[in-house]
Symmetry: C2
Subunit: 279 residues, 2 copies
């Protein structure tokens, strides 16, 4: 019998991260819920799970620097990426009908992403909760007949609730990008075919044009970037960390030369991983 793969993620069962786990690893992977991001990284590092899945950026809220920091500190490898559209649904216990609902529980960020829904339904009281999926868990435990939760369809399914209204979020352009992580392997079998991306982090001294010169390593070799972001290094005024994603396999000759070139120009350089490009 094949041992099932365990994948750590942050949040309650039914969180959007669990949808990312399914997209990346299929239905058979066993999701392992952790309270904090650091615990997700630690679980993988210490071998309690085989994979971890973490959000890295959101179209409305930007990059999750905390997870970039953990990527640098825990020395794990990115081996996949996927994007999940954040769809908020109004969810109630079985048998509970729309016209019974008076209270709506969810994480404040989710409540704030459904303001048009609340404006159209002013009789509904907003109740803040620690987690979107956790709010479904709570209304099921309470057997609430006057309360609903805002969460993912997966949360509704997991806790045996039902969806009263689908996709009540204000902005449909709300996507979160997730990384799949593994412990570093000596040599990874190539995925064969398909585009690959390489994620890296580097720092430069702040001399005018330092970033420009660093990017020449890629531009002069016709390598495309799909992300670039600067982040000030605290306590080191004028020094920056850069996150860059390159549309290339780290093993390609051109990319190897670009990395060699960048090493000459950067104070610090780390390849975080190479993985098939997500759709």
């Amino acid at each position: 019998m094949k041992k099932q793969m365990r994948a750590a993620f942050q949040g309650e069962l039914g969180a959007f991260s669990q949808i990312a786990v399914r997209q990346l690893l299929g239905e058979d992977a066993v999701p392992v819920a952790c309270e904090r991001f650091e615990q997700v990284f630690r679980s993988l590092k210490e071998g309690r799970v085989e994979r971890a899945v973490v959000p890295i950026e959101n179209t409305l809220h930007g990059s999750i620097h905390e997870n970039y920091d953990h990527l640098l500190n825990f020395d794990l490898e990115i081996t996949g990426e996927t994007s999940v559209r954040i769809v908020h649904n109004l969810i109630a216990a079985p048998g509970v009908k729309w016209n019974q609902i008076r209270r709506v529980l969810s994480h404040p960020v989710a409540l704030n992403q459904c303001l048009k829904f609340f404006a159209a339904n002013p009789h509904l009281e907003r109740v803040t909760h620690y987690d979107t999926a956790g709010s479904v868990k709570t209304i099921m435990e309470e057997k609430a007949t006057d309360a609903a939760a805002i969460a993912s369809a997966v949360a509704s399914e997991i806790y045996g609730a039902h969806i009263l209204k689908r996709s009540i979020e204000d902005d449909r352009q709300n996507y979160t990008r997730f990384f799949l992580l593994e412990r570093p392997a000596k040599k990874r079998a190539g995925e064969g075919g398909g585009e690959r991306k390489t994620s890296l982090v580097f720092t430069t001294r702040n001399t005018p044009g330092a970033l420009f010169r660093a990017l020449s390593a890629f531009a002069l070799r016709d390598l495309s970037l799909t992300k670039i972001e600067s982040r000030p290094l605290r306590g080191k005024p004028f020094e920056y960390l850069f996150y860059v994603d390159v549309l290339a396999d780290v093993a390609d000759a051109k990319m190897q030369k670009a990395l060699g070139h960048l090493e000459e120009l950067a104070d610090f350089l780390r390849v975080l991983g190479c993985y098939p490009r997500g759709k």
Copy 2:
């Protein structure tokens, strides 16, 4: 009598944004609390306030893309910046002592930024609330004797509460950068002396090296960037919006030439504002 300046911000009175209002405009400005970011921009646009203050990026959570979107849509001007260190304090009603506390209310993000404190005090129940400053308001209204809130020192002061424990956050490197906004003026008096920054947004077509060429407009003129960030344009695969902050006055001859050069290379370019560099 001079009319007092009104400044819109998002959150309850006592929110970290109100600290930014004080840092940027002094004690005399009248803070006007709004529920949503969009309302902050709209209040300024429609003349109900003279200034607005919005968070634009955080050292742990990245850029707040929503506010960049509003900046583009509302056609307002950035005229200042400041950084606020996010300090979380444990706050209770007057007379309430530390050993009486059993419940702690706050926004889930703030609760999650004080995990070491909760690990050291496992008898405390975490209660999620819609807002940090709002949690102080609530414990004061409830005259709670067993509950405390986690919020800013300003929130404690405004609601007449008192601080039981200062600075209980896990990470002291938690800063939020705010922009001061005004309606566009025909001509703004120069601030005289001091370094100035210019924030701009542009898009390029995705040809390899397009960003590299765009940055040449600044690098070839020895102009330093203090921020660069790409953001994919949804629905337009391979097209990106770039946010860039340049350490220069928009009126400088070199900067004017750089902008002219960038206009040749970019599909879209907008200067969001020019302002004295924050410390």
